[in-house]
């Protein structure tokens, strides 16, 4: 089982790496540029199909279809974002990646994280990217955007990393012989990558259909911040509580960092008037 997934992961990584390398814009533009792009695209599509096969069969339509859709869309958009010739297209593919990731978060029951990701990344950061790209490059693409800087090492390192990820997650697959009854078992089933049986098994925790499970995951039943004593905290309150207890110093430090960045930005945008040669030290 383990080796099967490792080999499959290696195949995916190799095919994907080859595809990505061929799809990247290269400096030497020959007559075969279009051909190489097409070949790369085919390799990448093949890798994506294998990747989808690694995920899970279409055991339950609603549950797995959405997961597979979002997962494949995320990876494909990421590839297209890296290889797109036009920076505006790159930014849009980035938005697509964020949206797909948001969908995956939603399916995993992390609805706050999903909304937060979409608001912060798709709604603000990428829009700012677009704003800057549009403002800066109205006359066409810049020279340094027409070719990848060092496509070979980048592709190799990225896809070796991807292979490590795939292989290591694949080995996490749990024993799925019996039904899942405890939360710990469910957690292990969730973290296992080979969700072929485990996802289906996981529905046994819920007495209803698979779709209800998905809806239930997307919308946890508790929705009060001020929960009763001893009750499990819902996720928004849970995140808040965790941030202000377990990670208080981290949260404070990142706040300070952001504040310093804000001050720096203001200093950069509003340069103080240069001091005159005679009036040294007058300008403050």
């Amino acid at each position: 089982m383990m080796t099967k997934y490792s080999i499959l992961a290696a195949l995916i990584a190799a095919l994907g790496g080859l595809g990505a390398y061929l799809m990247l814009p290269h400096k030497r533009k020959g007559t075969r540029a279009g051909l190489a792009y097409k070949a790369g695209a085919q390799a990448a599509v093949l890798a994506l199909v294998l990747f989808a096969a690694l995920l899970s069969p279409l055991a339950d339509f609603v549950a797995t279809t959405f997961f597979d859709l979002f997962a494949v869309a995320a990876v494909a958009s990421a590839l297209l974002m890296v290889t797109a010739r036009d920076p505006v297209h790159s930014a849009l593919w980035f938005a697509s990646v964020v949206l797909s990731t948001g969908g995956l978060f939603l399916l995993a029951g992390a609805s706050f994280l999903a909304a937060g990701t979409i608001i912060v990344y798709a709604g603000a950061i990428i829009v700012t990217f677009l704003f800057v790209i549009m403002l800066a490059q109205m006359e066409g693409r810049a020279v340094y955007d027409r070719a990848a800087h060092s496509p070979g090492p980048a592709t190799v390192s990225c896809f070796v990393l991807l292979w490590c990820l795939l292989a290591s997650i694949a080995t996490l697959s749990t024993d799925t012989s019996g039904p899942i009854e405890t939360r710990e078992q469910q957690f292990r089933a969730e973290t296992s990558f080979s969700r072929i049986e485990s996802l289906v098994e996981r529905f046994r925790l819920h007495k209803h259909s698979a779709m209800l499970t998905v809806i239930d995951q997307a919308s946890p039943a508790t929705n009060r911040i001020h929960g009763g004593e001893g009750a499990e905290k819902p996720q928004v309150a849970g995140i808040g509580g965790s941030l202000y207890t377990d990670h208080l110093i981290t949260a404070g430090l990142s706040g300070v960092l952001l504040f310093v960045a804000l001050v720096g930005a203001i200093v950069i945008t509003n340069p103080r008037p240069r001091p005159q040669a005679t009036g040294r030290g007058q300008a403050i």
Binding site: A124, M211, A221
Partner: protein
């Protein structure tokens, strides 16, 4: 079965929304005319004895659908075609978590497309923030200076106004203790206190930011007719333009519904009428709540139109000043004050 029920609900809600949008356009034209001492559309339907031009939306819709779909040769075709679709999808998706009637396990049905969503209001903001893509893409792909400037303005404006919009509701979220829109209505209904009265500053900031988020006057810089010839939708015609229009009005409905839910008590009427308690179940209560809610939403929409025909457009720097120098500090102040008061009250 549950899936079919949900699909039917989505179908009905989407169609009612579209019909409402068609008549909102008629209402807007009427109000525009009245505010300028004109009469407005009053002919369509007079052949069939229907007064006030009430068939005008049909005529408008038929015109939109039958017009030639012009695809300019110089546009970026995929993005040009996808932009209006994004506009309408983002607007409709945002409505998914808006409860327009009673929602609960004991109720006759859930008057909400996606009930029991923990993060209701965050969802609206997440999807609403995607609507800006429609404007940016339309402006960029049109390959036209005016459209482009419209898209640029839109991106800056929407990013800026999302911040006060998000901050302004946090006061109400702190008070009611939930991000779920149903829970917010229930809190107001329990106490018979509307959000306007417990968080008046938040209400004003929310309303102003909502005007900006929906690109309505006085914040309609992305599509200003006078200087940008329509802005981001200059190059669009026929139903592609119609989709932007539909999207904008669905957005207006969503924002008005949010205003009513957050600050107008939802279907609460201070207990003046029966059947308007969150404990009431049954069809009569459901219809009563639905009616009260609809009337309130209609009132907010009328107010938005009234404002539109009253105020002139902001200048661009004024727009940015208002967001960054006035609204955001005020919203932070509101949040801080609410938190302090709540801490004192709750101990």
């Amino acid at each position: 079965m549950a899936a079919i029920g949900i699909l039917i609900k989505i179908f009905i809600v989407a169609n009612v929304l579209m019909g409402a949008v068609a008549y909102l356009i008629w209402v807007e034209r009427k109000i525009a005319a009245y505010a300028q001492d004109r009469i407005g559309p009053n002919r369509a339907g007079s052949e069939f004895g229907i007064p006030f031009g009430l068939l005008q939306p049909l005529a408008d819709g038929a015109k939109m659908l039958l017009k030639e779909g012009v695809l300019p040769a110089y546009v970026n075709k995929p993005l040009y075609l996808i932009a209006p679709v994004i506009a309408i999808i983002a607007a409709l998706l945002g409505f998914a978590v808006v409860p327009f009637g009673p929602v609960g396990p004991n109720q006759v049905m859930d008057f909400q497309i996606a009930p029991y969503v923990d993060i209701g209001i965050l969802w609206v903001f997440a999807v609403g923030s995607l609507a800006v893509y429609a404007v940016i893409l339309a402006g960029w792909s049109s390959n036209n200076k005016y459209s482009f400037i419209g898209g640029l303005r839109s991106s800056a404006q929407l990013i800026s106004y999302e911040i006060p919009l998000g901050l302004s509701i946090l006061g109400m979220v702190l008070i009611t203790g939930s991000l779920d829109l149903n829970a917010i209505i229930r809190w107001q209904n329990e106490h018979h206190v509307w959000g306007v009265f417990v968080s008046p500053l938040g209400f004003i900031i929310f309303l102003v930011s909502a005007f900006a988020e929906t690109n309505r006057l006085p914040f309609d810089l992305p599509e200003s007719e006078q200087e940008l010839v329509g802005g981001f939708h200059t190059e669009y015609s026929g139903m592609k333009f119609g989709m932007f229009f539909l999207g904008e009005y669905v957005h207006v409905i969503t924002v008005s519904a949010l205003t009513v839910i957050l600050f107008g008590g939802g279907w609460d009427l201070w207990g003046l009428l029966p059947y308007l308690n969150y404990k009431d179940v049954g069809w009569i209560a459901a219809i009563a709540k639905l009616s009260v809610f609809s009337v309130k939403v209609a009132a907010v929409i009328l107010f938005m139109m009234w404002i539109r025909w009253t105020l002139p457009r902001f200048r661009y720097d004024q727009l940015m000043d208002l967001a960054w120098k006035s609204l955001i500090p005020l919203a932070l102040l509101n949040l801080f004050a609410t938190a302090v008061v709540l801490q004192i009250v709750r101990g």
